[in-house]
Symmetry: C2
Subunit: 244 residues, 2 copies
């Protein structure tokens, strides 16, 4: 009722009736859209996110967009500069180190408990995710693979039963995706395709210590694959492009 015909061109059905829930869910959908776009590298670090543009794309007013932007800023996926607006965060090398150190501590520390609590259905679900990830990699769909990898790590943490730590891991994985986008070498994705399957195997066997050690190596391998050079493309963009 409150949103009548403020979108005269597209037709009135988009924002009101199309099965979009009661508004609170709509916000969640938009949040996930932007979040996914960032995690999948379809929005690259440094990309500006103007409020008006997002308003047009999603058909909600700036009030709603700003709420979402603020939430993304808290998860450090976007950076809010006082009077310059929002942009996709460009992680520094220091931040990258912090994130991977944190993952090392939390994800490895969680493995014993995960091994203790993992169930048959969990294993099946995880193997399915790993299979999807491998398939995506084979098909050259980097975006999908990156998202699936992060989702797998996050799901793993959830199984521990500690919602707080699972939430931390979720955020660290999202930020890791951003870090991969900036410092990852093209073609070589962070996670080896068979790593996750091996890890699931250790957990299924109830071997928490082994799983933790493997996770540690896994994360170290990802971090080692990064090329930590902070490139800054403020203005040189055009110069380098048109120089020859």
């Amino acid at each position: 009722m409150n949103q009548r015909q403020r979108e005269p061109k597209r037709g009135p059905s988009l924002s009101r009736r199309g099965k979009d829930g009661d508004g609170a869910e709509r916000q969640e959908v938009i949040y996930r859209s932007i979040s996914d776009a960032i995690i999948e590298h379809r929005l690259k670090p440094g990309a500006r996110l103007r409020e008006d543009a997002l308003t047009e794309v999603f058909g909600v007013s700036r009030t709603g967009i700003r709420k979402i932007l603020q939430r993304l800023a808290m998860e450090q996926l976007v950076t809010l500069t006082p009077r310059r607006g929002a942009s996709v965060t460009r992680p520094t090398a220091d931040e990258a180190k912090d994130v991977f150190d944190a993952r090392q501590m939390i994800e490895c520390g969680l493995m014993p408990e995960v091994a203790r609590r993992i169930s048959e259905v969990d294993v099946r679900e995880l193997r399915d995710m790993a299979r999807c990830e491998r398939q995506a990699l084979k098909d050259g769909e980097q975006s999908a693979a990156i998202k699936l990898s992060a989702a797998l790590h996050a799901r793993l943490a959830e199984i521990s039963g500690n919602a707080t730590l699972a939430d931390f891991v979720d955020r660290l994985c999202s930020r890791s995706s951003l870090i991969l986008a900036v410092y990852g070498s093209a073609g070589h994705l962070g996670c080896e395709s068979h790593d996750h399957d091996d890890l699931i195997g250790y957990l299924e066997a109830g071997n928490g210590e082994r799983a933790a050690a493997f996770m540690s190596r896994h994360l170290k391998a990802i971090e080692a694959s990064l090329s930590m050079v902070e490139e800054e493309d403020k203005a040189p963009d055009l110069h380098t492009i048109f120089s020859r």
Copy 2:
């Protein structure tokens, strides 16, 4: 122009020129006011936080208040119920366990690095904080003691140099204050007064392992001091109170 005479006594200069910064800082001040009030138990778990009331108290419009409320909700200090508004979070027993397990993992895991990086000035600052805390305890100022204790733990994590993990610890400490408010027995505060001094001693000596072990015992002691009974005061409030 936009804020008429909501502060008739102070004159119109308060919100723009009166030394209060450019608005962004003002928000921070208000955020901290509410946050502190919650951490110090001056706002008790379950207390409602009506937007209009906060609007009047702080002299900013609902837009600003809601931004702050949303931030507090993300840190789990307040709970936002869809059409009921905001209230101070009342942690469940499960959440309490998660928070202390998380602190156990992160704070203890951080101690070795803290022991490695701690400096003379850090030690002096920490001892000063511990002294203030002990003093507050002696003076019966529970509110101040609780806040100082949380601040000490948070500062400790900062010294590790990992901003991400320090941020996690900061949030966990805030939530711990809430947990203390609900499950803590009156009179017996979580931290023993001399514990923190001992801990600083180990760190100063560069003994990370010992510090980690001590921190573990320290946190266990706090958790053990809680009485985990979930009282619920939905409606029976008035009935039980006036029944005899």
